[in-house]
Amino acid sequence: MSEDETDVMIGLETHVQLDTETKLFCGCPNEEADEPNTHVCEVCLGHPGSKPRLNRKVLEYAVKTSQALQCSVNEEVFFSRKTYFYPDLSKDYQITQYEVPVGEDGKVEIKIGDERKDIGITRLHIEEDPAKTVHKGGDISNSKYTKVDYNRSGTPLLEIVTDPDFTSPKQARAYLQQLAQMLEYLEIYFPESSFSLKSDANISIDGGQRVEVKNITGTAGIQKALSYEISRQKQLKKRGREISQQTRSYNQNQEITEKLREKETEEDYGYIFDPDLTTQKLDQEFRQKMKSQIPELPHEKIKRFKTEYGLKDKLIEALVSVPEMADDFEELSESHDANLVASWMTGEIKKTLNYNEITYSESNITNRFLDDLFQLIENEKLSDRNAEQVLRDQVDGSHVIDYAEKANAEASTLEASAEERNLLKSEEDEISEFVKEAIDENPDAVDDYNSGDEEAVNFLVGQVMSISQGKADPKSAREMIMEELE
């Protein structure tokens, strides 16, 4: 049975760790520490008498993200206690939002190949991350004991809950990728940081019982976890076995889902308002201010690039996936051919960055460098091959043009440097291009030569002389033609 024949329903709850200076409810640094349990205080350890105080920055992030996901933002929000006993929970309750989240009823359009689909956003709320548990000598099922590191306790999270709108693991993956990209544009999430996107998924097939799979990290993991779980459920069904309502955990190493517990009833967390935190007003003024800070989002940028630059979809999507690159592209396109800039950026530049395992913004590539590079290419001073060489040298650091240092130097710093390295086109290079052109444009003569008609070479030499307007030396032109034809 193929995936399409099964009725699959998937909903995601995604936790976005926020890269704020301090934790959600105390002044501890919100970052990893060398030693466990060092970025802690009485608040994030839940000591008696301590009280939470809200980091307002998190409200800003939550409102912006809600707006970007087209949610309606509630005017007044408050926090609740979700009570359950677990060693990673310093107060044995988690401060979260229950009745009234920051955002509700949004949607996001995802693109999977050529297909487009709207995914409903049920809600977006703020909550605190529990501590990290480290299972010594194994995983949760077989380790002898568990240690708890509260450095993570109180890290701010946004939980984004979707409607059960996904019908395939691919869609879920596309959603997470596009969500991550949107968050990157909002400067809330940085893929290279240690902050993660973690999802719990609810999956049911053919209207059967809902299975929750917890603890799926990243965007690649989601497709594997969901595919595994769907095939597990299908197998059960095929064998006439019941799919019971349960909570499972994704085991990343083995790429399987494992049963945590049966879910006979909904868990009861006995929610109450957190009386230590006051109601937060998200008034018109605040919401307007947040809205004005939202930059052009990826889907908007893609649309605009299409009409403004008329590039291919693939090129645009690749450009937009790196916000800084998209910005540089726009600037460079003012003085260079947009197609040239886009194909270099999404082709050779991306390849070189990947090879060196470095991101665009971390690399030595600057707008100024690219401006010079494209100019040399356009003026035909640099062949594609040598341009690639210049680019590689710049990225891997073997020959870097540091514009900051040479702020007052001549405009053609890159040209001078390329010249030094013997990378600029010489006359010989030029003639070799004429030779190529003559060969490419006269396939008949090439055929004749290949079938033994040596006279055909003379014809090609004549063509080179004519293209070069007499500049070429007939003898070397003949040698180069022969070489090319062999």
């Binding site: 009485e42 350890l45 839940g46 000591h47 008696p48 008498g49 301590s50 009280k51 939470p52 105080r53 809200l54 206690r81 009570t83 006993f85 677990y86 060693p87 310093s90 107060k91 044995d92 309750y93 004991y145 708890v148 909904e266 009861d268 006995g270 929610y271 109450i272 308002f273 957190d274 009386p275 230590d276 935190l277 006051t278």
Partner: protein, 456 residues
Amino acid sequence: MSVREVVEGDQKVDQEEFLEELKEKNEELNFMREINVGEDNSGELNNVPFVAKDAICTENVTTSAGSKILKNYTPVFDATVIEKLKSAGAKFYGKSNMDEFGFGSFSITCSFDTPKNPHDSERVVGGSSGGAGAIVAAMDKPLISLGESTGGSITNPAAYNGVIGITPTYGRVSRYGLVDYANSLDKIGVLAKTVYGSAKGLEVIAGEDENDQTTSSREVPQYADNLEETSGKLAVPKQYLELDGVEEGVMENFQESIDELEEAGFEVEEVDMPLLSADVALPSYYIMAVSEASTNLAKMSGMRYGLEFDPEDYEDFNEYFSEVRSEGFGEEVKRRILLGTYTRQAGYRDQYYIKAAKVRTKIINQYKETFEEFDAVISPSMPNIAPKIEDAENMDPTEIYAIDTLTVGPNLAGMPMISVPNGKSKGMPTGLHIVGDHFDEQKILDIAYSFTGGGE
């Protein structure tokens, strides 16, 4: 010697003498959880001694909140009120005994022996700030005693011990460092011998605190300096007069107080405040209180502090947590955790917890309406005199909860209130309760000041 004489007259408390008397009286009455003498401090309060209810965190000094589960717990920080008193020049003398986590009206649920009433050692000191009230009555010395009220825990021991007890508006005093009972109801206040002493203490501890987001940014008046005799209109809720179980002696003293107030120029009028009746305010209060309390106490699980066993002896964390909690908590605590878990459980939450929250809003509105016409609402502080310890121990929980009927209304509404001694019945003190509008502390202090005839 009084607090006023130490603060304004620059008299010095003989600290050695104080400590000696403290030890001696405590030996007899057990109102202290721990005597722990702090450093001399400089400031306006001129080393006036102060003690704190054991639910208020003190850095490096054991803070047990009356519970075995926190028997040897020493906080890593001082509560805001402790810091404030120290920097105003008060001298710390230790922690006073209380009902376990504040759950009680007589301090008989204290895990560290029951304190005894200075007026009659067979009788209770009240609760839950029982030790805080008894020490003021027992010590013949100037003293600021910090208490905490959730549903009446300052008024109650103030009345039973015949001292002044002021409970401020919710949010007037920082709760940072208070071991929580019910966060939306908890208020730290002051017990003292004189109105001046309570006003001075409150003035020092009140104010906005960035560590407690529920504190108000309103300016704190100079309550003590501002004290003056006043007059005005006082309301007596009809529902309190009709209440079953108010002792005759208590009612007689209250009637006499009304007469005195009228003589002093106050107008006293009976009003109808239906939501203060025993079947509305009391259950709403208890539902809110136990719902919050049951979440607050979840953290006491033997993981990070307090009572601990060897985890190796248990199958999993659930079994371990259960064992620590079963051993560490007393019976009344377990009762309230069970009640509170039930009242916020899905399926019951709407008809208990959510409904109680709505009733609270209505009670606030009813007070607000009354305060449009009246300056304060008065009543007896407690329906009875301090019962004998033996009798108290034999009461069933609902009887004990009913003791709070006169105090839960204003506590639920977050109104400021003060209890002032107004005579004796069978040799035991009784109290007059004066409740004001939000942030009207000065007004009720002035009324109390007038009632006690000004001065010291």
